[in-house]
C-alpha cells in the first residue's frame, strides 16, 4: 500500500473538469485507488464518488493505492493535483 497527502490548490477544487481528469487518470491504473477526506474513503475511479466528496479548494486529501502500480498511480495523481489541473 502506498499513500500520499496533498492539498487542493486549484480554484474549483475537485468539482468540475478537475474531477473528470482525476477519475480518468486514476482509471489508467490497475491498483485499487481510494481518496480519503475527513476519515471517509471514496473510490478514485468513480466520478460520482469523487463529486459527492465535495472537496473544495484548500481541502487536504489522502490518496491511497493498493496493487501492482500503486506508487506510480499515487505519484501521478499527486502531480495532477499539484499542477492545478492546468487551470
Amino acid at each position: 500500500m502506498y499513500r500520499e497527502t496533498v492539498v487542493l490548490k486549484n480554484e474549483t477544487g475537485l468539482h468540475a473538469r478537475p474531477a473528470s481528469l482525476f477519475v480518468k487518470e486514476a482509471s489508467k491504473y490497475v491498483s485499487d485507488i481510494k481518496v480519503e477526506k475527513d476519515g471517509k474513503e471514496y473510490n478514485a475511479k468513480s466520478i460520482m464518488g469523487i463529486l459527492s466528496m465535495g472537496a473544495a479548494m484548500g481541502t487536504t486529501i489522502n490518496i491511497i493505492a493498493d496493487g501492482k502500480d500503486e506508487e506510480e498511480a499515487v505519484k501521478a495523481l499527486v502531480e495532477l493535483v499539484n499542477s492545478k489541473f492546468g487551470e
Binding site: V7, K9, E11, T12, H15, A16, R17, A19, S20, V23, K24, N43, K45, S46, I47, M48, G49, L51, S52, G54, A56, M57, G58
Partner: protein, 570 residues
Amino acid sequence: MKGIGVSPGISIGKVFLKEEIEAKVEKKNIENISDEIAKLNAAIEKSLKEVKSIYEYALKNLGEKEAEIFSAHKLMLEDPEFIDFIKEKIKLESVNAEWGVKEASNKYISILENMDNEYLKERAADIKDISKRLINNLMGIENISLSTLEEECIIVSKDLTPSDTAQMRKDKALGFVTEVGGRTSHTSIMARTLELPAVVGVKDMTKSVKNNDIIIIDGEEGTVIINPTQDEINTYKEKRKAFEEFKNKLKELKNSKSISKDGYKVEIAGNIGTPNDIDKVIENGGEGVGLYRTEFLYMDRDKLPTEEEQFESYKIVAEKLEGRPLVIRTLDVGGDKELPYLEMPKEMNPFLGYRAIRLCLDRVDIFKVQLRAILRASAYGNIKIMFPMISSLKEFRDAKQILEEVKNELRVEKIPFNENIEVGIMVEIPSAAIQSDVFAKEVDFFSIGTNDLIQYTLAVDRGNENISYLYSQYHPAVLRLIKMTIENGHKEGIWVGMCGEAAGDERLIPILLGMGLDEFSMSASSILKARYIIKNISKIEMENMIEEILNLETPLQVKQYIDEKITFKH
C-alpha cells in the same frame, strides 16, 4: 405568470411543449439474473453510443467547454461504483435493472442536491440525465431530442437537461420556460450563452399551456403571458425592438473609439486578475488593461511564485493586447489579502498597516523578482508599472530606485526590456491626492483607486456592514480629491486614469469625463455600456456642471443632481 428572468430579452411565439414521457419505473422481481445483467449491459452500451454522438455534436456546434459535460456523462455511465451498485441490487434482491438504476441514481442525486455548492448541485442534473437515458433504453422508450424542431418556438419544459440543449436546433428556439431552476441552473447558463430569453422557476407552467399556444416571455422581468391580447403583443413588440436596438448598438461599439459627442477622446480599459481574464476584455472592445492585479499569482499557494512563472503571466497578456497599454500593479497584499507563507503578523489595523508597497520596500528580495519579471515582459508589449498604496514621495523614490537597480542588472545581463517604460502610482491615499501636484512632477501617470480612496478619506472600513451606509463614491469630499488629482496631473502633462469601481459607475462616468479623466478602467462587462455613455454626452456640458456638483453638501444630493440633470437616451 411569474418566474425568475435569467437571460434578458423578449420572445413572442408558439409553445413547443417538451412533454416528459416519464418512464414509470416499477419494482419487479426477475427470474433470470444473468439475462437482466445482459440487458443492463446492452442499455449501457446503447447509452454510451448516444452520449458519444451528443458529445461530438456539442464539440462541433457548441465548443469544447460545453462538450465536456458529455465527457463527464460518459464517465458516469462507466462509473464502477454506480454500475456495481445496480448489479448488486439485481443479484442480491432479484430486482429489475430499471429499479436498480433508479435506486443508484437517487442515492447520488440526494447527496449532490444537499451540497452547499451550486456547481455540485448542478451535477445532480447530469446524473438525472444519464439515468433517464439508461432507463429509457432499458424500457425501449425513444429518447426524445430537440434536434427535430421544425418551426420557431419557445420551448416549455419541466426542466432542460444538458443533452436537451446540446441537441436542440438553435435556429428554431426562441426562448425557454421551465418549472424548476435558478440563475445558475443549466437552462439559465445555456440561455445566456445562446443569448436566448429565458424564464425559469415558473410553477405549473407545463400544465398551463398546450402546444401551439402563443406566449410572450420577458427574460429580464421574469414574466410569461399565455395567449396575450393584441395590446400586450404590441407593447412587448415595442419593448423587444428597443432591447434589440440597444443590444446591437452596444455590439457595434466594440471596435469604435470612445469619443464624446463634442469630440473628446478617452480610453476605456478593463481590470483583470488572471491572464485568462484578458479574453473577456478584448471581446468587449477594451482599449487596454488599466489594472492587472498581480496578487493572484501569490495567493493560494505555499511559496512565492518564481520570476519565470510571473514573466510568463505578464508576457502572455501583453502579447494578447497587441500594443494596447497594460498597467501592471505591483504586489498589493496585506490588509484583507494575506499570504500565509510570508507569516505576516496579525495587526490591529491591517488596512493602515504593513501592506502593498510598504511590504515590498521592506522585502526587497520579493519586490525585485517581480520587477525583473515585469521588465522582461515589457519587451513583448506596451507595459506600464504602477505602485500601490503610495502615501509619501519617499516611498515612490525608493521604489523607483529599486526599479533602476533591476534595470541595471538586466542591462548587464543583456536581457531586453523597454527602456522607456512608464512608471506611475495609484492614488488611493488622501495624502497622495492632496500632494498630487508634487507627485505629478516625478511620475508618468496617476491611476485613482477609488475603493481605497473612499475608505481612507471617509474613514470607513469598506468591509464593515454596520457602517456601509457611510461609504459612497458620491461623497463631495471624494469627488473634490478626484478633481484635484486630475487637474494636478494635467498641469504637469501626465495622463490620469481610474481603476476603482467608480470608473464603471454609470452615474459617475459623465462627471469624470467632465473633470477630464483620460482613462477609465473597469470590469470587462461594463466596457461597452461605458463607451455608449461617453458617446452620448458632451464633455463641455459636463464640465460646466462640475463646480456646482463639488459645492453640493451630501452624497445624496450629488446622486439626485446627477439623476435629474444628466440624461442620455437608451
